[in-house]
Chain length 338, copies 2
Amino acid sequence: MNPTIKDVAKHANVSIATVSRIVNGLPGYSEETKKKVQQSIEALGYQPNAIARGLINKRTQTIGVLFPDVSGMLSSEVLEGVENAAHDGGFSVIVCNTTSSGKRTVKYLRLLQEKRVDGIIFASEDVKEEYYKIFEEMKVPVVLVSTASSKYDLPFVRVNDFDGAFQATEYLIRKGHKVIGMIGGSDEDPIAGVPRMQGFQKALESNGLSFTNNHITKNEGYRFQNGKESLPLLLKKLPDMTALFAASDEMAIGAMSAAHQLGIRVPEELSIIGYDNLKIAEMCYPPLTTVSQPLKDMGQTSGEMLVSLIKGEQQEAKSRYMPFTIVERQSVSEFRDK
Amino acid sequence: MNPTIKDVAKHANVSIATVSRIVNGLPGYSEETKKKVQQSIEALGYQPNAIARGLINKRTQTIGVLFPDVSGMLSSEVLEGVENAAHDGGFSVIVCNTTSSGKRTVKYLRLLQEKRVDGIIFASEDVKEEYYKIFEEMKVPVVLVSTASSKYDLPFVRVNDFDGAFQATEYLIRKGHKVIGMIGGSDEDPIAGVPRMQGFQKALESNGLSFTNNHITKNEGYRFQNGKESLPLLLKKLPDMTALFAASDEMAIGAMSAAHQLGIRVPEELSIIGYDNLKIAEMCYPPLTTVSQPLKDMGQTSGEMLVSLIKGEQQEAKSRYMPFTIVERQSVSEFRDK
DNA sequence: GCGTTTTACGTAAACGTTTACGTAAATCCC
DNA sequence: GGGATTTACGTAAACGTTTACGTAAAACGC
């Protein structure tokens, strides 16, 4: 088994306190003793026990990250950023796949509480009261990413969804489109659903274009299949539609797939703009023009923010709206009268 | 701060041993005492400290998972399966993004050793000697997923890449194609590179079709861009090619993108079959026919295998070749003479 | 009733580490 | 030279939990 600090102390003929001081770079030993101890460490293959250290220090150098769908394309990019920042800051990342289940989320939070993680990153879901209660009990910093909470004062890192949707819609308008539809999410989703729909609506109205309920189809999810099913519905409500804004890249690509099947040419007959700039946006046909959420950077930023809070480098984190851009590819063309 | 077992014992007027017995469901207390203690636990909001428990039990209920690219589409699906199996088995998952760097991998392994994880899942990369040395020092079970080691006797969960490539190629042959190319990986990659190329070659030869170096282009990576760049090269070497097998879905989709750009219709003029069955395979245009690696199931299986080894339910794991299928979509058509 | 067995506790030690504090020796400065 | 300060240790206690073992009381069976 792994040698302990006692084994090293015995081997080097010093006390365990001396070994500890040397291992942790604290003062209080001679160069000669240091060399002797280091030789013993190497000879025995000593690896400090982080568990014992965590018990004493009341700090585990570990953070927990909760995702509603760990294999989703959004999550995996955010995770990469978080993991990079955490690792650079000396922290390990326990990943939790909540599957959007409140019960499972509570279970994970309790587990992370038992494991005495130093902080939490909570991604892409609304914060429920029972989660917030556990956060308070745990007394560790929490950072939200790709979400926010209107009810609880928790720092977040996200894109301004209203603005993103507004600008995506304006982009279509500037391309000359006048009949523009939207494939939206849920109007019970305060994070990705409502603000994106409001931004769409506001852009139409600000540009003197009409907005009615016929301009939006709503969905419970944001997946490829949702987009694929929505296009025919939207065309029925808005037969003269020449452009559409989809509230996620996956839905945009689903709409493209449906367009192909309906014999509608993209972008010649129907321009499509998405939201996310997932890796697949450049891989679809035609390559998707989309609002770019810098997912990995958001992960990185939230990770750095949490590390900074844990380390006490700052007492309060300032929430961050990350910049977005419109990434132009080939799914949007100028409006041409038919 | 969190109340300790001492606080509960004092509140309930029992010893800490009694609280521990009750919390852990061991025998040795009356029903009356149990009720009293449970009330104290609830009143104080006691959450056991898993760190202290881990120190005593020499088991942390935590596993480490190493990926070369945590946000890759392959990795994220495997991770989901691993995390599910681990969670169900009572284990937490620390995720490590090695970025294919040997140095970083060693750093992570040392970190996991310090944190005394109960087991390791190592994904999608070759096992180097220095990694194996650390595995041995750690004295915990290791399971490989989506990879294997010819040099070290470590249990693995993977698909038979040779067979998968063989059958993908035979599928094209059965569709009547006679001039078939391959966009391959690296012939220094013993995991995904060499076997897939060998399976391709064997299928051609077994069916009396010619195989030369002109039938394969090689790449260092397996990405969309690799596939996009490879198609023109392959067409130059094999101008009469009517079908191609790509060693990954991303490369297949890259080849499709290049075909669109070159004005080559898929599948009418060029049939394409991929390898992986990533989520994007159904989202591209046309939807990709591909060899299906059951990534999530592989993650699940490897996670279950590791949990079983940790728990001592089995002494030795039996390596598993997971079944694959050809998922037919719309990127392959019957050969038709031009 | 008495010896044996079982039940329901509590005590003490352990796990591997960190660190406050005491002490002896060396060094510095007047 | 002597007092004050600094250096280089070691000891003991702590962290929060688990559990082996001892002991007293209760239960059982002859």
